[in-house]
């Protein structure tokens, strides 16, 4: 059809730039070598650490980030600008800088770390350190998306709900959450993707202990020491894993056909994050 050809042709170049390298990478990994690598205990360990830490990080990010995003959506303009910018910073920082920042704060000699150390709490070289690194670099993505989602729900809606006798909790559960859900889900997907791909801050702050802190990206880095083929196979496994989970999240977040919220508001929310 003529009308859809032009946009598609314009979309094609970047689509190819993103998709072709991934396809070439996966093509180089034979199914046999992928199966063999999946059977190895080191790889399974790395997959397990990656899944566990990224899930844990996501729970923390969504649990703690949602209130923060909601507060940001309702804060005064200047406060929101300042706090929002600070929250965005980890996105701009190179991961190794994030790692140094975490080490300085939570290392033994740091302000928080020293206190924790005195209390007998060990963070370094534990999965907790991996999660902290992931949360630090990935949370901003969720907070941005969630905030946009909340902002897209009009103020009138809240007023109507309150006038009709809804409590804050009721409003949150029956009106706000369903309206913002697609944005929250998209933000969670982006956040999770960033968390599972995290390398620079992790290796510096959490160390590279197999079975404990060695995530898939760290295993891929070590794979290079053995040879590019091992790194390619591990990369393929990570891509397939991420593909599966991202698809699942997107399917979960499909826009519901029937909600009380206006369609324009929903479209606005989706446009910020999708």
């Amino acid at each position: 059809m003529r009308r859809s050809t032009a946009p598609f042709l314009l979309a094609l170049p970047l689509l190819l730039v993103l998709a072709v390298p991934l396809l070439v990478l996966m093509a180089r990994a034979s199914p046999g070598s992928v199966a063999a690598e999946l059977a190895s205990p080191e790889t399974r360990s790395a997959i397990r650490v990656s899944l566990l830490t990224s899930s844990g990080s996501l729970v923390a990010i969504v649990g703690l980030g949602t209130p923060l995003a909601y507060w940001l959506s309702r804060a005064r303009a200047r406060t929101a600008l300042l706090v929002g910018t600070v929250v965005d910073l980890p996105i701009v920082l190179p991961p190794s800088v994030a790692g140094v920042a975490l080490l300085l704060t939570l290392g033994r000699a740091g302000p928080v770390g020293g206190w924790l150390d005195a209390a007998g709490v060990r963070i370094a070289f534990t999965p907790a350190a991996v999660m902290l690194a992931q949360i630090f670099v990935a949370a901003p993505y969720y907070i941005r998306a969630a905030r946009a989602g909340f902002e897209s729900v009009s103020e009138e809606l809240r007023e109507c709900a309150t006038i009709d006798g809804a409590s804050a909790w009721s409003y949150g559960r029956h009106v706000l959450a369903p309206a913002a859900a697609p944005a929250l889900a998209a933000g969670a997907a982006m956040s999770w993707s960033r968390a599972i791909g995290e390398f620079g801050a992790t290796i510096l702050f959490a160390g590279n202990l197999p079975g404990v802190t060695q995530t898939m990206p760290l295993a891929i880095y070590l794979g290079f020491e053995t040879g590019p083929d091992r790194a390619i196979v591990l990369s393929t496994i990570l891509i397939l894993l991420a593909l599966g989970i991202l698809l699942a999240i997107r399917l979960l977040a499909r826009r519901p056909a029937d909600t009380a919220v206006s369609r324009p508001a929903m479209l606005r929310a989706e446009s910020y994050t999708a």
Binding site: I47, R48, A124, F125, A177, P178, L209
Partner: protein, 276 residues
């Protein structure tokens, strides 16, 4: 209700991920009958140390080794910020000295345990026909070197400095080489990987990387001993080690006959006994 349904599905997704993780790794921790010694080691040692672990653990049934591999400079930064670790095995004496200066190492245990030689590495097929060090200054050659922040890069710099002082090579050679540098790599593994994928005509790397099985076809051209840079692998027990005795035994093991044989097999030169 739609919202609740989505929440439940999300919960199932998480549950699924956790279940898969448990299946993959086992939820229960193996009872630690052995004392775990945490070794912070340079990534280039990953092959030889993994190979060394079984024989070490057989000879020391009360100990088990846990390795954390990273760049030597990254490991030093970790130590400086109170990172845990019993033994530090560095590809570079600089990192050991820096960590020791900060009081993070037990200097009485400092010991050189191996050497690695630099070599000119060639990609599979060696289409550019690189056969000697002087070929690296050939105009138009694509050359890979390591960044000077990492041990390999520092060794490359001193190799070039030495080459500049030699009559047969001289400053013209050095400037020719520098003009050919296509990229500075952050670690030796990536350098070899790029080379084995044919991304360059030559590279300056560790001679041990040519003999490792994974980098099929990467050849090495020896650099004359008087020019050849030897990188020194130095180890020391950390100052805050939880298991200093185990760390000491691991370091000593590298100097035994078994350790030396494994080091040689992976392309390193074991430290000569009797030399401090």
């Amino acid at each position: 209700m739609r919202g609740l349904g989505t929440l439940m599905l999300a919960g199932c997704l998480f549950g699924g991920m956790l279940a898969v993780s448990c299946v993959l790794g086992g939820c229960r921790e193996r009872a630690a009958a052995r004392t775990p010694v945490t070794v912070l080691a340079a990534a280039s040692l990953s092959g030889v140390l993994e190979a060394l672990r079984p024989s070490f653990e057989r000879a020391n049934p009360d100990l088990s080794l846990r390795f954390s591999f990273a760049g030597s400079n990254q490991l030093r930064v970790q130590l400086e910020h109170g990172g845990p670790g019993d033994l530090f095995l560095s590809a570079d004496a600089r990192q050991i000295d820096a960590a020791a200066a900060g009081g993070h190492l037990d200097l009485s245990t400092r010991r050189t345990f191996a050497y690695n030689r630099l070599a000119v590495l060639t990609p599979p097929g060696n289409r550019a026909g690189v056969g000697s060090l002087s070929d690296l200054a050939r105009p138009g050659l694509r050359l890979l070197v390591a960044d000077s922040a990492v041990p390999l890069g520092a060794a490359t710099e001193s190799l070039l400095a030495r080459a500049g002082g030699r009559p047969e090579l001289g400053p013209a050679f050095v400037s020719g080489v520098r003009a050919n540098v296509a990229s500075r790599e952050e670690n030796a593994g990536v350098l070899v990987a790029k080379l084995s994928l044919g991304e360059a005509d030559a590279g300056i790397g560790y001679s041990s990387d040519a003999s490792s099985g994974g980098s099929a076809g990467v050849g090495a051209v020896e650099i004359a001993p008087e020019l050849g840079e030897e990188t020194e692998y130095v180890g020391a027990v950390t100052a805050r080690a939880r298991h200093p005795e185990g760390a000491r035994r691991c370091l000593d093991y590298l100097a035994t006959a078994e350790g030396a044989e494994l080091l040689a097999r992976f392309g390193f030169t074991p430290h000569r006994r009797g030399v401090p």
